[in-house]
Amino acid sequence: MIRFATKSGGHTPGQQQRTGPGQEALAGLALVALPVALLLTLTLWPTVTMVVSTFLVDGQVNASRYVYFFSDAYSLANLRYTMEQGLVSALSALAISFGIALYLRFSAGRIATMIHALSLFPLFVPSIIISYALVRFLGPNGLFQLLLEQVGFTHYRTPYLTPVGPFLAFVWEALPLPVLVLSAGLTQVSDHAVEAARDLGAGPFRILWEVLLPQVRRSLLIAFALIFLGIIGAYTVPYMLGPAAPEMMGVFMQRTLGNLHDADAAQVQAVVLMVISSVVGGFYIATMLKSQGGER
């Protein structure tokens, strides 16, 4: 660790000569050198070589592996399912957490504190635990079904091993982040602004739409990007709760590499997912930069 830091710190004197900053800037560069070096060697370099290798078939440059992926109905179904699951789960999580954040903004007291704590609770539960808990609770003849049968409802169909299973787990897991971000955003809206709007005759929906939403629009976009990226790369939840087919990309990639030992196909799947993630990631960064610019 220490040797690594000194090694990458070695580049900094050159920087100093060119820009001539003080000792403070030098320390800053030294601090940032290690993470940048790690990023370059452990993430960027393997990624570039991997992407290049997907275009090399028997020493020839061609895109046949991608042609196969995008003409294979099964692969496309998995990709579409992953996107659908990501969109539906992320939007649902956002809608629910926006509701919770609104409630927390306008109420106080013991119940509000409890709801706040409950909504943050998933932050501390690993996904393998929530998966097992959902199997036991929502699974066939699980607690939920038994409770429903007690009140005479006998047509329960378990979401276990259907797309609804991972959907429930994703939404539950994703709640804390947007609740934190959105309630922080909503506290910035002053009571005066809301009261002023009300005095001018605005109804609750108009207040929501024209006063509250514009304040948290960026927070919503950022939260969406983060949740969506987390879901489309998920493995444990869809593996344990989802159907055999279609597979989410994480499960599909693992099976292609681990069971079929087809590293080339798995890499192509990874690159496709990575491109989609980069688009969403780029959108996230753009939103972040814009919000920083707005503050200045």
Binding site: Y74, A77, Y81, E84, Q85, V88, V135, G139, P140, N141, G142, T158, Y160, L161, T162, P163, F167, Y239, M240, P243, A244, A245, P246, E247, R255, N259, L260, H261
Partner: protein
């Protein structure tokens, strides 16, 4: 944290024990290597060891667990091969489970002792279906069979056709695991492929894989499984492994699944599965299974002792313990076991133990299943 003084004291004690072990000439310690699961290594240490010591005065063994370390027993075997070539002590006597062919050059170099009735008398008891080559000794096995809840299923299926008929008559009450996630589902899929190809496992060998031919042969299995698909649990949602399938049976969500014999028997013994669950093997063609093979290096430190251990392992007493204590199948013929044990397990005793080649065939089977059978795109996300 282990203190230095503590450490020195305990290492002194260990040295003392080792010294006594060597000095006591009447007690020889055989080195046994195991890379199987804890149920196997635990069984060797806790149950087999005292019995072996009682039956063979002057002999004992030390179990070294190689599970998860490099190539497990393969690494130790490679060391024994090197010792054979340099004529030094391999410090190994017995491999609980090993595939000699996977240790490059070991067979040609004569690393493995040929085991015959002349040096291991109990080999005459061995199940002929399990014998492959004299350097590998089959001693325990497991096989996939059909587990069903006898409270719900009056007439358990005897043939594959019976099973399909039952599943169709009872929609949603049968399921099997995804073939790549566990052997129970995998070997059920194999059984369907066998069914579609004239119930002839010999059509599938390690060396006869050909993509086009395989596609044609596998399609016959897919047709059967696609037909079964809407009648399985959740209309084609398959549990992700051996244990999830057993859980569905334990929770009463389904009444019938394919399951590994040892896992099902242990689950019954531990009360994880209700006692109304019974096991049966298909009688027209059994589901796949396999044996664990032991082997002894010809340069074993104590070859005579190792052969005595092999003979002990194949004794009816130890083989009864294979069935009773680890839920495995015996390596010797059922006829050589106590009559009451055989009577108890009569429904699961196979007439044959088919196998399916790994490698290309297995990959084509797993991937083909996902693309042809499991595809279930009607449900929305």
């Amino acid at each position: 944290m282990l203190s230095r003084r503590h450490f020195l004291a305990s290492s002194a004690a260990l040295t003392l024990v080792a010294a006594t072990g060597v000095s006591a000439q009447d007690k020889k310690t055989l080195q046994v290597f195991i890379d199987g699961d804890t149920n196997i290594s635990g069984w060797w240490n806790d149950i087999l060891k005292p019995k072996f010591e009682a039956a063979n005065p002057g002999l004992t063994f030390n179990v070294t667990i190689t599970r998860g370390v490099a190539d497990g027993n393969g690494t130790i075997a490679a060391r024994a091969l090197a010792a054979l070539q340099s004529k030094s002590d391999p410090q190994a006597d017995y491999f609980e489970e090993i595939e000699p062919a996977s240790v490059a050059g070991s067979i040609e170099a004569g690393l493995w002792e040929e085991l015959t009735e002349a040096n291991v008398a109990n080999l005459k008891l061995v199940n002929p279906a399990a014998v492959e080559t004299p350097i590998r000794m089959p001693y325990r096995g497991s096989q996939v069979l059909i587990a069903y809840d006898s409270a719900k299923v009056a007439n358990p299926p005897k043939t594959f056709a019976d099973l399909v008929a039952w599943a169709k008559a009872n929609p949603g009450r049968f399921t099997y695991g995804r073939p790549d996630k566990g052997g129970s589902g995998s070997n059920f899929v194999v059984r369907a492929i066998h069914e579609g190809n004239g119930k002839d496992p010999s059509l599938f060998t390690k060396d006869n894989f050909d993509a086009a031919k395989a596609e044609e042969m596998l399609q016959k299995g897919w047709a059967i499984l696609k037909d079964l698909h809407p009648f399985t649990f959740g209309e084609g949602t398959y549990p992700a492994g051996n244990t999830p399938a057993l859980q569905l049976l334990a929770q009463g969500a389904v009444d019938m699944i394919p399951a590994w014999s040892d896992q099902a028997l242990q689950a019954l013994k531990q009360g994880v599965l209700p006692e109304t669950v019974k096991l049966v093997q298909l009688q027209d063609l059994a589901l796949c299974g396999g044996f664990a093979y032991s082997a002894i290096p010809s340069n074993a430190t104590d070859l005579e002792g190792a052969l005595a251990l092999a003979n002990f392992v194949l004794s009816p007493e130890t083989q009864t313990s294979v069935v009773r204590d680890i839920g495995g199948f015996p390596g010797i013929s059922w006829d050589n076991l106590p009559a009451d044990l055989k009577a108890e397990y009569i429904d699961v005793i196979p007439v044959s133990i088919p196998t399916f080649p790994s490698g290309d065939w297995s990959k084509a089977k797993n991937d083909g299943w996902y693309k042809n059978v499991a595809t279930n795109l009607t449900q929305g996300g």
